[in-house]
Amino acid sequence: MGLPRLLIVLASICIPRCDREFILGDLEEIYTTTAAARGRVPAVLRYAKGALASALTLRLAGRGRRGGQGLGVMRLASNYLEDARLAFRSLWRRPAFALMAAGTLALGLGSGAAVFTMADQLVLRPLAGAGNARSAAYLQLGPPGMFAGLTLPHFDQLRGSATSFVGMASYGLSSQNVARGDARPIGVMVNVVYGDFFDVLGVQPSAGRLLTASDTQLDASPFVVVISEDLRDRLFGPTESAEGSTVHMNGHAMTVLGVAGGGFRGPERGLDVDAWVPHGALVPLLGFSRDRLTSAESAMHSEILVLPERGIDPDAAQARVVGILEGISNADPEARYVSTLSPRLYPGLKTPPLARESTNQKLRMMAWAVIFLLAIACANVANLLLFRSLARRGALATLRAFGAPQARICRQQIVESFFLALLGGVMGLVVAWVIMLPFRGARLGRMPAFEGFALDPPVLSFIALAALVAGVFCGAAPAWLAARFDLGAALRSARARDTGRLGSLRTLLAVGQIAMTLALVVGGALLVRTLDNLRRVETGIEVEHIARLTADVPTDIDPEALHLLHRELLGAVVGTPGVQGAALDVHGPHGATFLGRIGVSASSLDDEAVRQAGVYMWQVTPGWFELFGMDPVDGRVFEDSDWRAEPGDVVVLTASLAERLFGRTDVVGRTVWAGGREPVERRVVGVVGDYRSLRSPSEPRDAFFVPYGEAPRSYLSVFVKTAEDDAGALTAVRESVESMLPGVAVPDPVFVSETVAEIHQEERLLGQLLWTLSAFGLLMSGVGLYGVIHYLVLSRRREFGIRLTLGADQSGILGLVGRSAARITLAGAGVGLAAAYALSRVIRSQLFGVDVLDGVSYVGATSLVVIVAGLACLAPARAALRADPVAALRED
């Protein structure tokens, strides 16, 4: 087997001219003897090593150029500067070509930079202020999204026994009103923490001190708080110190221990937490009884953070946790629930477990789209450069004839393509900024909002690296051509001809572009169809003109007084002029929901199948069903008499749940056991239509309704329907709620339809991004195909001219051009359909109501690509018809 030609070309580029012939000869001789003695691979490796070492030695010794010794590195630099100058001059002389090629690369590199920015903001950046963000881990006790926790005594047992971890802490999330003095309260997110939370995360205080493990014990004072720097600035201003001061949280005086430094906003990206309180603060803030915090019924330690011992394998640490939980479960009859837990360690605090899989999946999808687009851009620019080097064959031949070395010409090609890539990179920054505009402030699921495009070091490094790679890819084909340059043939015919291997290469590049574009367009079409289907989903609930107002309510009053307050509040809202209807609910439709338990008997409550289905439990006031247009299909909905201070004995089921429980929907009068923590016996008074959740609308979501106010909640939501989003009526509602809840800030109302739009935002943004990339791809493929066909026509101009002269009709010539274009388009479409199938499998989880092999998307996308290909051929076809044989012959 011979020595790879590419290796020889690379070696001849690297090794200085002075001894190149002898060194290359020696290297090849050594290659031959090594290959005979030890085989081809060691011989190739020795050749490469020898060539690289020779190049470095000679260049550093200053033997790169005539004149001999010293300053080799300087000479090396000046050599490349000269190449750069020549490349710049060559591009400067053809600005249209340079702008077209750089613009093409800019689309690819800019899209890449935009997606990289998203990835950087979503997962790559370390969690602000958490020094242990890389080494710490999330410990989940059940599948992401399913609540699975430990009681306080069992969590303590786990903490004490898990020696694989340096530290362990649990945290929960709550929203609270915080105020300083008489100032208007601010609504903030609060972490309720237990254990050495700040030590596990490696957070340092910027003032005062942080909560320690002993501060979070139940016997310590619950009236202490650590605040974020942001909240400190909002409450105290940037100059006043906060530590030791008193703030009021839901009316309770809390002492500020210190301020978490480094911009720390909690252990989960995207949930901007502003305050951290000890576990015991649940008693005053949320009205929990102290017994409940330690009771065996209350397995609330579900969000756990751990700091593993240095060097410990995550799997081994996870196995240790499983072992400890098994021990706890076996030793204590009350801990049988522990055996149902399935602990899993998620190393690194990049993305919380719940969002990890879906975020990575979306980023993977976008990365693939960008790789496709960059490949299309590189293929396009390589094609343009090939086109140009063909046009410059005559000039190159003259250079070679005057003794310009082949390696130098190769190198110049590469430098020229680097120049283009650099220019493309700079222009790409603008493209990235434009792509990111609609993403600014938008969120993908629970992840943090995008900040828009910023020129920070990671993004600049990415685009520089991507430009470098693109430069190599674009320049490889023209450099390869220069390496195989046949001086004799070129001098015989200085006129460009698209022949043999070169023609095939250009055709192959065009086929690749069309294939990748088709895949992108199919992906975009599938997501657009998904979005369309999601918009048309009948959820069973009407949300038009319904706004939601949220407010904190006191927890330290007795249930009867709370019930009266709720009634009074709802009465005031309903009585406000312009209000067409109102109801109370804890969360409302399409938002967070309580999971309840329901069974036809007390013993069937633990039915695994029902629990896995995640039955929604809604606590609603009379009027809720009328407000949201949920009519009964059997029986009735709640009446005023059903809403009482004590737990009620009635329930309304959705049709799908009635079907699941009883196998029929006419179940009024039947008895079920239903509720949240403690289900009670209830009589079914009515069945309403199905409810479909917007996030997974493929199947109806089982749900049941109980009268409002069964458990005291620290907050409530008022849903108000006005005529045509009447802003005046909403302001009046807000003022009347505020007047009834002194000291409570009621945020601006949010329309439920906005929540729905937010839920669809993810698909909309992804679809928009894929469409933008597809449009770029279509544009580039069109240009690429135009280049190939245009060149084909140029090289066959004489033939076309003669045919026309001999009487061939125009349709015959058009047929010749059309057949060439059709061959390329069909080959591209064939490969593209396969690539599209692979891409649609990657985005399968994002699709709704659309098959991976959706005919409309595939046929539509293919038609679009064929139309663009057709348009790209129009100008070359016209040129073919105008071919003049005399002019063509004269050129030869």
Binding site: L3, I8, I15, D19, E21, F22, I23, L24, G25, D26, L27, E28, E29, I30, T32, T33, R46, K49, G50, A53, S54, A55, L56, T57, L58, A61, R63
Partner: protein
């Protein structure tokens, strides 16, 4: 004139190759006898220096298919080079004489 470490090795390799040779066999000889893989670039830098000192002379030789049709640069040891090598080697021999037993003993102790 003093000889560098690699210069001595290269000169000895040329002597072992019959007094004249080109890059590839010199590299192979050095690898075979000392285990040192000297790249052609480094070798030509050394040979260039030796030629400057008048220890070797060079000329362009013929081409060969095994070299991809490229010509070779042949180096021959000159009397001045032979004398320098001889004198350096004699000095080394003087320096080393009588140390063998001691070296053997020390090497034995260490092992």
């Amino acid at each position: 004139m003093a000889l560098g470490d690699l210069e001595q090795v290269v000169l000895f390799a040329i002597v072992r190759l019959g007094g004249e040779s080109h890059g590839a066999p010199i590299s192979e000889k050095i690898l075979e006898t000392t285990g040192r893989d000297v790249s052609p670039g480094a070798l030509y830098t050394v040979l260039d220096r030796l030629e400057g000192k008048g220890f070797v002379e060079s000329w362009i030789g013929d081409s060969a298919p095994a070299r991809g049709g490229r010509r070779r640069k042949v180096y021959r040891l000159l009397p001045e080079g032979a004398r320098a090598l001889q004198s350096w080697y004699a000095g080394l021999r003087d320096l080393a004489s009588g140390t063998e037993a001691w070296l053997d003993r020390l090497a034995g102790e260490v092992s």
